[in-house]
Symmetry: C2
Subunit: 586 residues, 2 copies
């Protein structure tokens, strides 16, 4: 039972001590989550209450199935941006179709996460290499910050790429609203100050570091309260400051995502990308925090937990969610001990949805934009480009391509370009494996690279060792390489491929070995294998390769040499070790 | 100079002997090529003369730049089908836009081939694993045969998938033209008979095997002549038999492909796929034939040669071409010695275009369809599915997916599915590399897998050896695996990762190693590396990994053990080999 519903495990051992810790953490996370929920809903192009709804039942869904004691689930910046990009192609912002598509996206993403969790396909997430995800986050951060400029300036603008966004804003600069600009720039400056300088100040005033930390995280709440009061006091909403407006009071509605096959098919690629990006980000926070208490996070259970959260979002008026970085760290630092902290947070958000929404009516959108800008700019890490360049040019290429394509063509194309390029570059690298011509170390039965060791080589037998499994990306290369080396020396009559490092031969490589055998046969050269590993040999015997092979398979390479060139081999066997140099050069 | 224009090399050494051989081969290939050119143009949805034009200058283009002495370039079945699928999405059959798009496709494909040839990116072709290409050819053969049924029945029908094609034909069965059916079925039966039984018959009659072979290949020409005469004799074209109709006389026009950026962008994916499929098919024939004379084919020069052929096709009213299998074998068997045979063949086709076209006016389309059906059904190899299943389930999955998607959703989707699946399955396989916990073989400095050998292990140091390079697909798995193993035993204080088989650590794996070090540090465990190879160490030193590593890097694993657990190691050093069993179990 506990295997299917992990919550049963920790609930059974739950005690008062844990209750107190979890409850305190929940209060702090709730305070942090309220402005974030409203802001990220705005970023996703959705009404503010959708952000609150996405911070409610999804947290309960994760608590029931997830494996991290500290992960705080809810709307996050990058996933909100990806939602806006995906849903924006299906419907216009503000329409019921738009909100419906966001529900469907969450639901689909939830189903996908649960499916790959249950099928143990978490491996798919590892296709997102670190440089690609890091480039993606940096570029998304820049794109998000650019998208919020319009709220800070108080102009209308839209677009899904950096060029579109900045062009559109530039075209509307004359409509800038001065009071909005004052609030937007003021809030941004205040939040940057809070982030950089408030904590040292509080520490200097003698506060406990943990209290200072938590007060610092409450910066956005202060900005929200102050700017709401300012709007009320000076009737700024009538002076052109865009405000959040009426938010329905009450708990989330029970919703069903639109069951429209065509819509689902269109949303599926985005749902997969959102799921994988969300999972990769979330699991790495969860693992880092778990390690601090010698706890474990189970990736396949995380997939199911995040899947449950997204299905819950799809059924309760939300949109795609995942574990948030800053939020989870706060949750952990504030003492969260079990996933129940998330359930308590959901309770806090429920109270907010029930009683606080009238208060947000006059909340300026510019304030929310400021919290987003400050949050996402902390994700931007342009230095990573430099570090990756220094470490590996191939990784840099994948990273730079991701950044550029995200900024210039959008998030989905960007991440897909990055994944395709990193896979291609890896395959290109592994398509030229290390291969060595070897000879016998005189007086021994060892065979070593002729370029590095003094060894005896046979004038008529070419011995080649390949240091990699044989598969489609290197099969044809190997075929050409061995053929060319065999034909380069007219005296060669036998070629032996030493397979001691070959763990696998796929069907393409099998075909290439057959072709190689045929080509060498046509050229009057026989082709042998030696030191084939047991499992590889079993597979070869299942095919008709061994019947067609124009040569033999030898157990050890020394057996091969004794059979194919008895004279040279016997001479080398008798020689003293190390070989005399005349022989070594032959 | 010769490096850029390889033709200069063999032209300088050209002699009368070669001239005679090449000229004879050209005559025979020309006879074979004329009906094929007309038929494949029909398959591609193009007027018959386009097939002749594609068999003219492209052959000269290949002869100048290619490296095979036997490859016979021109229109082939699979590429014609892919052309029809790609161009069919841009324009309606029979319109000038359709022919223009085919020109642009050939030109683009030529540019792509030349580019990857010059950039030495021939590696890209190896992404097309053997099961995928084999499944693709089989499925394309079935699809092509189905597409020709309408000509044999004399009905109108269209569609790009098997279901569409068969459905459309079934819907028009009542319009079947009896005389067309007689010609179509008769020609098909005749050609199958020629293929299967004529050669044994001719051999029995005492003909030289080579002559028998060449007469057999002339079957389609006989079918063409007989059915044209039948149409003329009985005025069958007025009785409902669709004929080729008027073909313009004369040499190919000089054409420019339409330079339309949007069209090019839409055609690019198809051009890339056509180029790669054409190259893979062509280079394997060329290599097989070259081996029979101990000659070499240079893949990068083949790319340039085929690229030149396609650019020539785009500039002279043709459509995409590549090396044909049957045709090249005939060329080789008939004695072609240099690429000049191709130039002579082009001359033969030029004569046909100048003088023979009026004769083709009354050629039934059903006859051409019959030659196509008989040719492509020989490509269908359903047995390969069984053989691949027996050899490797992963390869079978990629192959079966390719076959199904080609048949049910079209050629482009099919091949892309196959490539994506084979890459994914390979990455999945390599994402779980072999990893072993090792211990010391007592009395030696060797460390071996604890599961296979009697070894001494330290109670507080975990030694793990990984048998694969570390990269994004296995980085996270390794991180979790090592972390879990370290935490599984409370007594473990140090973990050493033995890197003797690690040839590369990419940026993702570097990040995972850093995270692993941090996670282990948080759990109170130190993390070390041993036996790091020189080039890998150089790269690590370029990053800040070594400063952050919560542990050390040891040259040899024995050094690591001596430093981390001197007591156990010293004891094992002193023990007699093999280790006593009490120690081995610790």
């Amino acid at each position: 039972m506990e295997r299917f519903l992990p919550a049963l495990g920790w609930l059974r051992r739950y005690d008062r001590d844990q209750l107190q810790s979890d409850a305190l953490a929940a209060v702090i996370v709730t305070i942090m989550l309220i402005p974030q929920s409203l802001a990220y809903a705005l970023l996703a192009g959705l009404p503010p209450e959708v952000g609150l709804y996405a911070s409610l039942l999804p947290l309960v869904g994760y608590a029931l199935f997830g494996s991290s004691n500290a992960l705080a689930v809810g709307p996050v910046a990058v996933v909100s941006l990806m939602t806006a990009a995906a849903v924006g192609e299906m419907a216009a912002v503000g329409t019921p179709e738009y909100a419906g598509a966001a529900l469907a996206l969450a639901f689909l993403s939830g189903l996908f996460l649960v499916a790959i969790g249950l099928l143990r396909l978490g491996f798919l997430a590892s296709l997102l290499s670190h440089p690609v995800i890091s480039g993606f986050i940096t570029a998304s951060g820049l794109l998000i910050a650019a998208s919020q400029l319009k709220h800070i300036l108080g102009v209308k603008a839209d677009g899904h790429t950096l060029v579109e966004l900045l062009g559109s804003i530039a075209g509307h600069l004359d409509q800038t609203s001065l009071p909005t600009l004052v609030i937007g720039v003021g809030a941004t400056a205040f939040l940057f100050w809070v982030r950089k300088q408030l904590k040292p100040l509080l520490l200097k005033m003698g506060l406990h570091p943990r209290v200072a930390d938590i007060l610092t995280k409450a910066g956005p709440v202060a900005a929200v309260i102050v700017t709401i009061l300012a709007v009320k006091a000076f009737a700024l909403d009538e002076a052109g400051v865009a405000v959040v407006g009426a938010i329905p009071e009450g708990l989330p509605p029970i919703t069903l995502p639109p069951f429209d096959a065509e819509l689902w098919a269109q949303l599926l690629p985005a749902a997969i990308l959102i799921s994988i990006v969300g999972f990769v980000e979330s699991v790495s926070v969860a693992q880092t925090l778990a390690a601090k208490r010698r706890e474990r996070v189970l990736p396949n259970r995380e997939l199911v937990g995040l899947g449950a959260a997204n299905i819950a979002a799809g059924l309760s008026g939300g949109y795609p969610v995942t574990g948030g970085f800053a939020r989870s760290v706060v949750n952990f630092d504030a003492g969260a001990r079990t996933p129940l902290a998330g359930v308590f947070t959901a309770g806090g958000i429920a109270l907010a949805a029930l009683f606080l929404t009238p208060f947000f009516h006059q909340l300026p959108k510019a304030t929310l934009a400021a919290t987003i800008v400050v949050a996402v700019l902390s994700l931007v890490d342009l230095g990573a480009l430099k570090r990756t360049w220094d470490y590996s040019k191939a990784d840099f290429a994948a990273m730079a391509a991701t950044v550029l394509v995200v900024l210039l063509a959008g998030v989905e194309k960007g991440i897909m370009t990055g994944v395709a390029l990193s896979v291609l570059l890896f395959l290109a690298r592994s398509s030229r494996p290390h291969m060595a011509v070897v000879g016998q170390v005189a007086g021994t039965q060892h065979y070593r690279n002729v370029r590095r060791h003094r060894v005896v080589t046979s004038p008529k037998v070419l011995s080649v060792r390949i240091d990699e499994s044989l598969y489609f990306a290197n099969a044809r290369w190997l075929e050409d390489k061995v053929y060319d080396q065999a034909l380069a020396n007219e005296a060669i009559r036998d070629v032996v491929l030493i397979c001691s490092a070959v763990n696998m031969i796929d069907a393409s490589a099998l075909e290439s070995l057959e072709t190689l055998s045929d080509r060498l046969k046509a050229a009057g050269v026989r082709f042998h294998l030696s030191e084939v590993k047991g499992p590889v040999m079993d597979k070869l015997q299942k095919s008709d390769f061994l019947e067609h092979l124009n040569g033999e398979v030898f157990l050890s390479h020394h057996d091969a040499m004794k059979a194919l060139d008895p004279v040279t081999t016997a001479e080398a066997d008798r020689s003293a070790r190390p070989a005399n140099s005349a022989l070594a050069k032959s």
